[in-house]
C-alpha cells in the first residue's frame, strides 16, 4: 500500500511516492514533490481530470482469493500431468497468478474515483527432450494467458486438454525439420498477432514515445505526427483499435490514472495511420484532449501512456478458407522470443511451432522458426485477415516501460492473418 502525490508549482511539477500513509508521511510526500519540481516548467498543467466521481470493479464470478490454494495446485497438477503423459516430456513449468489492485484517485478539482481490478491467469510450459535437443510448447503470449476476471478464467483455460496439446506438440517438434530460410507467405496465429500488435502498433502509437518522453530508454516511434492521417501503415485490410472498455480484457479500466475515462481509438483505419494513444500531458503537444491512456503500475509509478487493449478488426474470410487459398506458406503459432528496435521498425520474432501450407493443405511441422520484418512493409503485405469465428482475445500480465520500469497488464485481440513476402528462417542461424 502506498500513495503518490503529483503537484505543480509556479516553476515546475513533481511527484513523490511513499509507503508512509499517516499524516506525517503524506505531508512529507507533498514536501518532497514540491522540492522535486525544480526550476523547469511542466510541459502542461497538472491533469485535473474531469472532476468525476466514479467507480469501477472487475466482474468476478469466483473470487480467486477465496479459492483454497489446494485448488490452485490441483489445477496446475492436472494440466502438467496431461503434458507429462507424453514420455518425451521431461519437465513442465506451470503457474497460476491472481491479483487484486485497489486504486483511489483524487484531485483538487474534486475527482474521486475508486477502482478495483482483479486479474487471474496462468501458464503452462512443456519441455520435450531427446538426444540433447529440447523443444518447448507453451500457451499465450510470453507469459501465459490472463484475464480481468475471477478464478473462472483459470478453470476454463487451464484444463487437461491444454496440457495434452502442449505435451503432444513439444514431442512432435523433436522429430520436425527446422524452418527453411526463404521469403514466403506467413500466416500468423492469434498469439503471434497479439505480439505483433503489441510491439509494432501498440508501442509505436504511444504519444509519449513521439514527444520524446521515453527516448532514453524505451525509445521513440516511427509514427511521427507528420505521418498522421496519410501514412500507409498497412494494407487496406488492416484496421487496429485501442479500447480500454473491452469486458474481461487485461487492459480494461473505468478511468485512467489522471482521472479520464478511456476512449475507443482507431489507431489504423484501412491501413492508414490515424491516431495516437495519449495521456493528458502528452496530448497537449498535439493540442488534443487526453486519450485516457495514462496508467501507472501502482503508487510508486508515474502514470505513463500505456496501451489498453489493442486489437485487429476481423476480416471476412474464414480461417479454413484463408488456408485453402494459400499455395505456399508457413503458419506460425505461439511466440518464443521477440526483439524490436527503438523506433518499432525492425523486428525479429521466433516461434515455438510452425507448419507448412502447400496447395492449401497443412504440410510438415517445422521447428525453430523465426520471421522478421520492418513494421509498415510487413503490415502492407497483409493480404488476408480471418473472420470473427477465429478472433480471440489474449491477456498479457506485464508489459514493461518507463524509468524506473513499470509493468502493466494489456490485452490484444485478433484473428489469424496472412502476410506476403516475409523473410523466415531458423532461429539458431
Amino acid at each position: 500500500m502506498g500513495l503518490m502525490v503529483h503537484i505543480q508549482t509556479a516553476v515546475g511539477h513533481g511527484y513523490a511516492s511513499t509507503t508512509r500513509m499517516d499524516a506525517t508521511g503524506i505531508d512529507d510526500a507533498v514536501g518532497l514533490a514540491v522540492s522535486q519540481a525544480g526550476e523547469y516548467p511542466a510541459p502542461g498543467p497538472v491533469p485535473e481530470g474531469c472532476g468525476e466521481q466514479g467507480e469501477y470493479r472487475t466482474r468476478v464470478h469466483i473470487d480467486p482469493f477465496r479459492v483454497p490454494s489446494e485448488e490452485y495446485y490441483a489445477t496446475m497438477d492436472r494440466v502438467a500431468a496431461a503434458a507429462l503423459r507424453h514420455p518425451a516430456v521431461r519437465l513442465t513449468e506451470s503457474f497460476i497468478a491472481a491479483s487484486r489492485v485497489h486504486k483511489v484517485f483524487m484531485d483538487t478539482r474534486g475527482s474521486e474515483i475508486d477502482q478495483q481490478f482483479t486479474t487471474c491467469g496462468g501458464g503452462i510450459r512443456a519441455f520435450a527432450v531427446s538426444n540433447g535437443e529440447v523443444q518447448r510448447r507453451s500457451n499465450g503470449i510470453l507469459q501465459g494467458d490472463h484475464g480481468q476476471a475471477g478464478f473462472e478464467f483459470v478453470s476454463e483455460t487451464y484444463q487437461e486438454t491444454l496440457g495434452d496439446q502442449m505435451g503432444a506438440e513439444a514431442t512432435a517438434l523433436l522429430r520436425a525439420p527446422p524452418c527453411p530460410a526463404k521469403v514466403t507467405n506467413v500466416i500468423l496465429g492469434t498469439e503471434h498477432m497479439a505480439l505483433l500488435l503489441h510491439e509494432s502498433c501498440g508501442h509505436a502509437s504511444e504519444l509519449d514515445r513521439v514527444t520524446g518522453d521515453e527516448l532514453t530508454f524505451a525509445g521513440a516511434s516511427f509514427l511521427t505526427p507528420d505521418r498522421r492521417g496519410w501514412f500507409r501503415y498497412g494494407s487496406s485490410l488492416v484496421t487496429i483499435t485501442a479500447d480500454g472498455s473491452t469486458p474481461g480484457a487485461m487492459g480494461t479500466y473505468g478511468y485512467d490514472d489522471e482521472g479520464f475515462a478511456p476512449r475507443r481509438i482507431v489507431l489504423v483505419e484501412r491501413g492508414i495511420f490515424k491516431a495516437y494513444l495519449s495521456s493528458f500531458g502528452s496530448a497537449i503537444a498535439l493540442e488534443e484532449p487526453s486519450g485516457g491512456c495514462a496508467r501507472g503500475e501502482g503508487w510508486w509509478g508515474v502514470p505513463l501512456v500505456r496501451m489498453p487493449n489493442v486489437s485487429l478488426a476481423p476480416g471476412d474470410i474464414s480461417l479454413p478458407q484463408l488456408l485453402s487459398e494459400t499455395d505456399d506458406g508457413i503458419v506460425m503459432e505461439t511466440p518464443y522470443t521477440w526483439s524490436i528496435d527503438d523506433r518499432r521498425l525492425h523486428f525479429h520474432f521466433t516461434s515455438e511451432l510452425a507448419y507448412e501450407v502447400k496447395q492449401g493443405k497443412r504440410g510438415r511441422l517445422l521447428k525453430n522458426a523465426s520471421y522478421m520484418g520492418v513494421t509498415p512493409r510487413f503490415w502492407a503485405g497483409c493480404d488476408a485477415v480471418a473472420d470473427m469465428s477465429s478472433w480471440r482475445l489474449w491477456g498479457l500480465a506485464a508489459c514493461g516501460k518507463g524509468e524506473p520500469m513499470q509493468a502493466m497488464p494489456v490485452g490484444h485481440g485478433a484473428a489469424p492473418a496472412r502476410f506476403r513476402d516475409v523473410q523466415v528462417g531458423e532461429s539458431r542461424r
Partner: protein
C-alpha cells in the same frame, strides 16, 4: 543495526515468529529521478519505500511473502502471514535453513546526497551544451540511497547502505543521435559535461546515415553495448538455477576454452570501483567469482537453494527478492571484464570496414537453447572505414551466437567504465558492469532499421 528504525521491529518479529526458521530482508530505499526530453523536464519523482521479503520455513516447506512496510511495527504481522502460507506451500524445499549466525556486518558506503539544485544545474547544462551544438537533449538524472538489511532466526544480522548517482543523455540531430551515461557511487564524481560531450560527439559525426548491406562485420561494442551482450551469459548461462535444470546455454561449455584467450571475466561485488554489496540477498558474503578465465568457461554461480540442488556451496549470488527479474535464479550481478592493452582508438583503427556500436535495444535470445543473441543498435551506430569513423550508419540488427562472439573477441580496450544494465536500469539492485570496449570480428548483421 542499531542505527536503523528497523532493528527493534526485526528483532521483535523474529522473536515472535512461530516458524522453525525465518528470514527477513528489508530494502529501505529513497530515490529521485528527473527525466527530461528535448530540453524540458517531464518527470520528477521522489520515491521513498520500504519493502520486506520474508521467508518462513515450517516442516520443510518454505513460503515467501513480499510486502511494502508502511511502518516498522507492521513486520510481525507479515511474518505471521508468511508462516501461515507455508501450510499451502507445494513441494518441500531443498533448503532447510537460512543463513546462520557467523557474520554481523554494518557497512556504510553512502556518499552525501546532492541537493536538488545540483541536479537542476546539471540538466540545464546538458540541455545548453546540446543547444550550442544544434542538438536536442533528453535524459535522466537519478539519485539513489538504499539500505539493505537481512536477519535470520539463526542469528544472522547484516546491513549495508549504499548510494549511487546516474546520468544518461541522448542527443538528437536531424538524422542521428548519440548516447552516453555515467554511473558512480560518489555523486561528486558525476560529470554532466563529460557525459554531454561524449553523447554529442556521436550525434555530431558528419554525414547522412548510410545503410550498410547485411553480412559479417567487425564491430567495436562500446561499454554499454558490451554489457548488454554479456547480460544473457549471466541470465541464461551462469545462472545456477538454469544450470541445475540442464537448460544453461553453457551446459556443454563448462571447463572448455571456448572464448577468446584475451577474455577474462569475473563477478565481484566487493570491488569498490563497482556498486559494492558485501553480501547477497540471503546474507551470504560475496567474493570474487571467476566466470571466464583466459577464454575458459568456469562454473555456474549459486544461491543456497541451487547450491543444495547441486550439492555445492552458495557462491553468494542470491537474487533480489523484489522487483522485475528477467529470469529467477542466482546470477552474476557485478561483472568485471579484464581490460586489454589497446586503446579504444586502436580498436577502431584496426578495422577496415565495420561498425562502432554505442548501445543495443531490446536484445533477446532468438534461440534460448543455442544461445543466439539478437538485438538492434541505437543512438550512435557509426561506420568505420580504413580505421576511422567515417559517418553515421543506419541502425542494424545483430543476430549471432553468444559463445561464437566470445570466441571472436579480437580486442579489448584498456579503459573501464561502470555501467548499468539496459533491462533494468535504476531499479533496485540491477546488474552492473565494470567493462571496457570490446572488438568482435565477423559479427552477423542480418537487418537494418529503415522505413524506406
Amino acid at each position: 543495526m542499531s542505527e536503523t528504525p528497523w532493528a527493534d521491529p526485526v528483532e521483535s518479529a523474529l522473536a515472535r515468529s512461530e516458524a522453525q526458521a525465518t528470514e527477513i530482508v528489508i530494502l529501505d530505499e529513497g530515490y529521485s529521478i528527473t527525466r527530461f526530453r528535448r530540453g524540458a523536464v517531464h518527470q520528477n519523482i521522489y520515491r521513498s519505500a520500504a519493502r520486506a521479503a520474508i521467508r518462513a520455513l515450517v516442516d520443510g516447506r518454505i513460503a515467501r511473502l513480499i510486502t511494502s512496510v508502511p511502518r516498522p511495527d507492521s513486520l510481525s504481522g507479515a511474518v505471521s502471514e508468511a508462516t501461515a502460507l507455508t501450510r499451502s506451500a507445494g513441494a518441500p524445499s531443498p533448503l532447510q535453513d537460512f543463513v546462520p549466525a557467523g557474520m554481523r556486518m554494518e557497512n556504510d558506503n553512502a556518499y552525501p546526497l546532492p541537493p536538488q539544485q545540483v541536479k537542476d544545474r546539471a540538466i540545464r547544462d546538458i540541455v545548453a551544451y546540446g543547444k550550442a551544438h544544434g542538438l536536442s537533449g533528453s535524459g535522466a538524472y537519478v539519485v539513489r540511497d538504499a539500505t539493505l538489511l537481512i536477519a535470520t532466526s539463526s542469528g544472522l544480522r547484516v546491513r549495508t547502505r549504499g548510494t549511487n548517482g546516474y546520468i544518461r543523455v541522448v542527443y538528437e540531430s536531424r538524422q542521428t543521435s548519440g548516447y552516453a551515461e555515467q554511473l558512480s557511487t560518489d555523486f561528486q564524481l558525476l560529470n554532466p559535461e563529460a557525459v554531454a560531450r561524449e553523447a554529442a560527439e556521436k550525434a555530431l559525426v558528419p554525414g547522412d546515415p548510410v545503410t550498410i548491406p547485411t553480412g559479417e562485420y567487425d564491430v567495436v561494442l562500446d561499454e554499454v553495448a558490451a554489457a548488454d551482450w554479456l547480460r544473457f551469459l549471466g541470465v541464461y548461462g551462469f545462472n545456477g538455477l538454469v544450470a541445475a535444470n540442464g537448460a544453461s546455454i553453457l551446459k556443454d561449455a563448462w571447463g572448455k576454452s571456448l572464448a577468446s584467450p584475451i577474455v577474462t571475466i569475473w563477478d565481484d561485488a566487493t570491488d569498490s570501483r563497482s556498486l559494492t554489496l558485501p553480501f547477497d540477498f540471503e546474507g551470504t558474503p560475496t567474493r570474487p567469482t571467476p566466470l571466464i578465465t583466459r577464454g575458459q568457461i568456469e562454473r555456474p554461480v549459486h544461491d543456497r537453494t541451487t547450491a543444495a540442488l547441486q550439492r555445492t556451496a552458495s557462491t553468494g549470488h542470491a537474487n533480489l527478492p523484489f522487483g522485475l527479474q528477467l529470469l529467477p535464479g542466482p546470477a552474476p550481478f557485478h561483472w568485471h571484464m579484464a581490460p586489454g592493452p589497446t586503446t579504444r582508438e586502436q580498436l577502431i583503427a584496426s578495422i577496415d570496414t565495420g561498425l562502432l556500436i554505442t548501445r543495443l535495444n531490446y536484445t533477446d535470445l532468438a534461440d534460448r537453447r543455442a544461445g543466439i543473441l539478437t538485438g538492434t543498435s541505437r543512438d550512435g551506430t557509426l561506420l568505420i572505414e580504413r580505421g576511422e569513423i567515417r559517418r553515421p550508419a543506419t541502425d542494424v540488427r545483430i543476430t549471432d551466437s553468444l559463445l561464437g562472439m566470445l570466441g571472436r573477441v579480437t580486442g579489448v580496450g584498456n579503459t573501464l567504465r561502470l555501467v548499468y544494465d539496459w533491462w533494468n536500469p535504476m531499479y533496485d539492485y540491477s546488474m552492473c558492469y565494470l567493462i571496457p570496449p570490446v572488438k568482435i570480428a565477423a559479427c552477423h548483421i542480418n537487418g537494418v532499421s529503415t522505413i524506406s
